[in-house]
């Protein structure tokens, strides 16, 4: 990997493509843990850009319904999607046992739909993704100084 020319953010392109309906939304596409983490963080950033913590549930529900209907082939469960949005807004909601494919689908497709609702430019979307990628990098643990080997007693 070149340090001078880092790779383009893949999620940004994927989100833009999904938002433009250029590619089918395949939820089963394999994604690594890091990639899913980036999707999740980007979703959180997008949700908090679109909604306030006390946004009416009806408003959230309309956005979710728009995304679910637009990407009907993905058959996203609307309530699961709504819960993930509310979780991203800091609410304590039941989100355990949501299938990982559903989570990824909601993170990707709802992010694309919200980007469209917010009329974000490609540049703004890429900036958001870059921010998510930075946030997804695990913080390195502080190095523990190695203990000097005990001198053997003769």
């Amino acid at each position: 990997m070149s340090a001078v020319f880092p790779p383009e953010p893949r999620l940004g392109h994927l989100l833009q493509a999904v938002a433009r309906n250029d590619v089918p939304a395949r939820l089963a596409a394999p994604a690594g843990d890091t990639e899913r983490r980036v999707w999740e963080i980007a979703f959180g950033l997008m949700v908090r850009r679109r909604f306030l913590t006390d946004s009416p549930l009806a408003e959230i529900g309309r956005s979710v319904a728009t995304a679910v209907n637009f990407h009907a082939a993905a058959a996203l469960p609307a309530l699961d999607a709504e819960m993930l949005v509310r979780e991203a807004l800091g609410e304590k909601v039941p989100v355990e046992e949501i299938d990982v494919a559903v989570r990824s689908g909601v993170h990707l497709l709802l992010s694309a739909s919200l980007a469209d609702e917010l009329a974000m430019t490609d540049g703004e979307l890429d900036d958001l993704i870059k921010q998510a990628e930075k946030l997804a990098v695990p913080i390195p643990m502080p190095a523990v100084p190695e203990e000097a080997p005990a001198e053997e007693l003769s």
């Binding site: 009416p56 549930l57 009806a58 529900g61 469960p77 609307a78 309530l79 699961d80 819960m83 609410e91 909601v93 039941p94 989100v95 355990e96 046992e97 949501i98």
Partner: protein, 146 residues
């Protein structure tokens, strides 16, 4: 028994069965045993609809989330997973969002209805006269829809 005065007001056998089940130590479990009676099942569904509409229509749907958590905690059931989402979906479907619950199997829906209806008598419980009114209203709804 506090509920005896209510029994005479119910017009149907199903209504009496439901009220008797609500007098048991474990109302939700007793209600679920009525599943082999189509009349009681219809009445329970209508009673559920009447109860949740009276409780939640006009309120913030987030109140349903809080109620479900409280209900499941009381029943010592998991509060953060699929059961909680299903319970919220079933309640909100009855107060104007029917699409939310269409994926939930009938049996699970019935179980959740039994928990919510059984919760009407969780101590201190609603007054017996009020409970009888709800059942009577549910009976009218069953009658109108048949």
């Amino acid at each position: 028994m506090g509920q005896n005065g209510t029994l005479v007001k119910t017009a149907t056998a199903a209504g009496r069965n439901v009220l008797e089940a609500l007098e048991q130590e474990h109302p939700a479990r007793s209600l679920s045993r009525l599943s082999d009676s189509p009349g009681a099942v219809r009445l329970l569904r209508e009673l559920f609809t009447v109860a949740v509409r009276r409780s939640f229509v006009g309120r913030d749907p987030r109140d349903v989330t809080g109620y479900v958590r409280d209900l499941l905690e009381y029943q010592s059931l998991p509060t953060d997973g699929a059961l909680a989402r299903e319970a919220e979906a079933v309640i909100r479907s009855a107060v104007g969002e029917p699409d939310l619950a269409y994926r939930i199997p009938d049996l699970r829906r019935f179980e959740l209805i039994c928990y919510v209806v059984g919760d009407l008598v969780r101590p201190p419980g609603i007054p017996p006269a009020h409970l009888a009114d709800l059942v009577e209203q549910a009976e009218h709804r069953v009658e109108r829809s048949s």
